[in-house]
Amino acid sequence: MAKTLLALDRRGFVKAAAGLLAMTVMPSGLVVGNAWAQMPRSTKPETFVTLVQMSRDCYPHEAVTDPYYANAVNVLDEAARSSEADLALLEDGVAKLDAAAREKGGTDYKSLPNEADRVAILEALGEADPFFQKVRSNLVVGLYNQKNLWPIFGYEGASADKGGYIERGFDDIDWV
């Protein structure tokens, strides 16, 4: 994972993510929002939506809406713009997921209604699979390092500019 962490240019990621905030991926898989149409992208629209669903299946949080997952996927999409190998990894990987979904009687991965069925496909793919590794490890920073996602988890971020917590509740719990 260290390689991923160190290779990731967070500033570049934030810049890319900012353009996507207006986008919403509907449960049906339909992508709506102005930003979507304006974004240059490398993956096919269906591939992008599948990667968003896969990202949610890796780290499912009810309180986190799709645009946050889409921001993370966009990091991969952006990298694939300049790398045919990266693009092939994503497209081929999604094709594998869809093929596995069809074996389960579905039309494709993103349309399988049960999370357990989708997770079983990811598990069958295996953690060592380069496609799975790419998508999952990208989320560690690509999802959880989005500053506007932190309040959902109750994390307040920088505090020095607010004078720290010495007057703001560093010892405010009374339940122990």
Binding site: M1, A2, K3, L5, L6, R10, D57, C58, Y59, P60, H61, A63, V119, E127, R136, V140, V141, L143, Y144, N145, W150, F153, G154, Y155, E156, G157, A158, S159, A160, D161, G163, G164, Y165, I166, R168, G169, F170, D171, D172, I173, W175, V176
Partner: protein
């Protein structure tokens, strides 16, 4: 002659590294009137440059140069190129450290005597003992402003501490408090008191935490006898025909190489870089590396037996508020083999922000089990286990066949847990969970060791030259004007965070070097 110094000035003491060992030694030598040059691989980032953001700060401060790993430790699987989480910046890892300042216990200087022969462990008694170190510990504590020493009050406990304290007392632990911390609980030494910012690991933005960057080096520089040269990566130590060192070759920011002449050289680059430098300084006279006639350079790499326990409760904790290491439980620090292992360990509170929690809680894990733990972030309390690990000859830093941009071989860090380490960690996981369970945890999580912050032992101190690399003053057994001044000189690791001991040894070493120079012996 005042700083800055000429490359050809062979009267200077050259120190490689500006952290707890090098920064303290350089400052103390300058205060004694000795011309000193510190060569620091990293850049100079001051208090106001620090960033309250985990990844941005990591980019700014961490030692990110590629390293390799091998062995059965999980760090090697999860972070194959990042064995250690340490700093490349003026001040070294004192910029990143949490501030825990504990003296070693008496038996920890004499582990071979107290623990006996342990299979697959390369135990050795230090050539010094606690009685000899006590005055130096006292000097270090005063200098660093350690709480609960010198009449300095303890820091107030934050939420994370309150949870640990209540649980620890419920299960019968007695020695529970907000620690001995080199963080000002009241203004001292021209530095402010702690504002409970959190982000201790990212560089203290209030200046309350002692570091060589804010509390030592400026005093050394004020004497005009200390030059700290940043962005200088030392590649090789040169010696003459008699075997005395004469200077060091370093690469500057642009990659240009220079030779800085020296009267004395001290190596203080942390326990991965220090042996790397000595091994890379091999010559026809020292074919196995400088100061390595014992073959011990790079061996006995220790990283403390670590791990974390996080407890999730049904009410908020907001553990990230306030000092990262906000308190300690010391009851398990004793040596008591009835627990199934030798040596002991400490519990210290620890918190991570959400981004680092995602990266370190259980690296590589995914799915509902992981994400539900993350959902509990606000209600989480955390503690770190830090215990003595066993030195092993094959746990070692070696030069790999891959080279960096200067042509210097990158280091490989090999580590296998000793069965004593594993037994201790499992005991600590169980006790840590019991602490949180006692105050109503709905879930506890065992988190594996992070990349190493306490890197120790790779140039160890020994009475006999055949057992180690340096003598009781950190002077190389093989080379009279070469010293080691960082944690790599530790013979064994003890249960305590190493910085106070590194600083105490550096103060003692400065006294020794100045005395020897005064007598014309160096």
């Amino acid at each position: 002659m005042p700083a800055p110094y000429d490359l050809n000035d062979d009267s200077v003491v050259v120190i490689v590294g500006s952290g707890a060992g090098g920064g303290t030694l350089g400052t103390q030598l300058a205060l004694k009137g000795i011309d000193t040059v510190i060569l620091e691989a990293g850049s100079r980032h001051e208090t106001w440059d620090f960033i309250n953001d985990e990844w941005d700060s990591f980019s700014q401060l961490a030692w990110k140069d590629k390293r390799r790993t091998s062995g059965d430790w999980r760090v090697s699987k999860d972070f194959p190129n990042l064995p250690a989480w340490i700093v490349k910046s003026v001040g070294g890892s004192t910029v990143h450290w949490a501030g825990a300042s504990l003296r070693f216990q008496e038996h920890e200087f004499k582990t071979k005597t107290h623990y006996g022969e342990l299979a697959d462990a390369n135990l050795l008694d230090w050539p010094i003992d606690l009685a000899e170190m006590e005055p130096w510990y006292a000097m270090a504590e005063d200098r660093m402003g350690v709480t609960r020493t010198n009449g300095i009050p303890g820091l107030p406990g934050n939420n994370n501490f309150k949870v640990m304290e209540a649980g620890a007392k419920k299960i019968g632990y007695k020695e529970v408090h907000t620690g001995r911390m080199a963080i000002n609980s009241e203004p001292r030494d021209d530095r402010a008191s702690c504002q409970q910012i959190g982000f201790c690991f990212q560089g203290c933005k209030s200046g309350a935490k002692w570091s060589t960057l804010v509390a030592e080096i400026p005093k050394g520089e004020a004497t005009g006898k200390l030059e700290v040269r940043p962005d200088c990566m030392v590649l090789k130590i040169e010696h003459d025909a008699s075997g005395k060192v004469t200077g060091v070759v370093y690469a500057d920011k642009e990659g240009r190489q220079h030779l800085q002449k020296a009267r004395v050289v001290s190596v203080a680059g942390n326990s991965i870089e220090s042996p790397r430098l000595l091994l890379n300084s091999a010559s026809s006279k020292f074919p196995d590396g400088l100061a390595n006639s014992s073959g011990q350079v790079g061996r006995n790499y220790m990283r403390h037996t670590t791990g974390s326990v996080y407890g999730i409760f049904d009410k908020p904790v907001n553990m990230y508020r306030g000092t990262t290491m906000a308190g300690i439980v010391r009851d398990e620090a004793r040596h008591d083999p009835s627990r199934g292992f030798v040596g002991g360990y400490e519990f210290e509170t620890l918190s991570l922000g959400l981004p680092f929690m995602a990266a370190f809680l259980d690296p590589g894990k995914w799915g509902r089990d992981f994400s539900s733990a993350m959902d509990g972030y606000a209600n989480m309390a955390g503690m770190w286990i830090v215990g003595e690990d066993m030195p092993r000859a094959d746990n070692r830093v070696t030069l790999s066949d891959e080279k960096d941009e200067h042509g210097m071989p990158i280091p490989d860090v090999h580590f296998d847990d000793h069965e004593n380490d594993t037994a201790m960690r499992n005991h600590a996981y169980k006790q840590g969970a019991a602490i949180y369970d006692a105050v109503g945890a709905v879930r506890t999580i065992e988190t594996p060791p992070y990349p190493s912050t306490h890197n120790l032992g790779t140039n160890r101190m020994s009475e006999k030259p055949e057992d180690g690399v340096v003598n009781r003053f950190g002077q190389a057994h093989d080379v009279p004007n070469l010293f080691v001044s960082d944690g790599s000189q530790f013979t064994t690791g003890a249960a305590e965070n190493p910085t106070l001991t590194i600083v105490a040894l550096a103060l003692r070493q400065a006294d020794h070097i100045a005395g020897r120079m005064g007598k014309g012996e160096l």
